[in-house]
């Protein structure tokens, strides 16, 4: 059973608008959450993270929101740019351990 779920395999957004990518998790032991971005033929690159003691973390155009009671997090990108087109992976884990659990990813397409 998947512990980290990204239920939307793809998302298409117009340039300049907001992109919202969603992620749900089932393991209540997770206390650290990350978003990775992946271009074709490259490894994932870290984008933004959030600890379970917070409900929001912002870095430029990227904001991650965490709703612990709903076991849900989301990544907001605003304004979206064509260069943001990539696959976005949600990942989670426990700060006391090293391994990350990834979702299946959401392919974002930002159209000019």
């Amino acid at each position: 059973d998947q512990q980290v779920k990204q239920n939307s395999p793809s998302l298409s957004v117009q340039e300049g608008r907001i992109s919202i990518l969603n992620c749900d998790y089932t393991n209540s032991m997770f206390d650290y959450f990350l978003w990775y971005k992946k271009y074709p033929a490259e490894g994932p690159t870290f984008l933004i993270s959030i600890s379970s003691i917070k409900d929001k973390n912002e870095d430029g155009r990227f904001t991650v929101f965490l709703n612990k009671s709903a076991k849900h997090l989301s990544l907001h990108i605003v304004p979206s740019q064509p260069g943001d087109s990539a696959v976005y992976f949600c990942a989670a884990g426990s700060g006391s351990q090293g391994n990350l659990i990834f979702g299946k990813g959401t392919k974002l397409s930002v159209k000019p």
Partner: protein, 116 residues
């Protein structure tokens, strides 16, 4: 470049053969991770090292898979008697300052393994 490198970038082999995949982490990074990404899936954890020792190998699917990091730097993932289901992109990542996920993991480009 100073990033994580993986060789080969592509490997095609026949069912039943033995393969080795190599990972060169970022210099000075003490933690090293192996993940496997099958088509349409996210990366799946296999094993991670802190220094030379395997701190957690719970993600290795069976005893055909083995990984080493003899000098605490380069790591090799070894797969015996390959099966078609082993076909995937094998990703390596490294991080500094210990093996907590609070330390950013830097990923290499991966090795695409195809078992015919």
């Amino acid at each position: 470049g100073a990033g994580v490198s993986q060789t080969p970038s592509n490997k095609v082999t026949e069912k039943g053969k033995y393969v080795e995949l190599r990972c060169d982490p970022i210099s000075g990074h003490t933690a090293l991770y192996w993940y496997r990404q099958s088509l349409g899936q996210g990366p799946e954890f296999l094993i991670y090292f802190q220094g030379t020792g395997a701190a957690d190998d719970s993600g290795l699917p069976n005893d055909r898979f083995f990984a080493v990091r003899p000098e605490g730097s380069v790591s090799t993932l070894k797969i015996q008697r390959t099966e078609r289901g082993d076909s995937a992109v094998y990703l390596c990542a490294s991080s500094s300052g210990g093996d907590s996920i609070l330390n950013e993991q830097f990923f290499g480009p991966g090795t695409r393994l195809t078992v015919l």
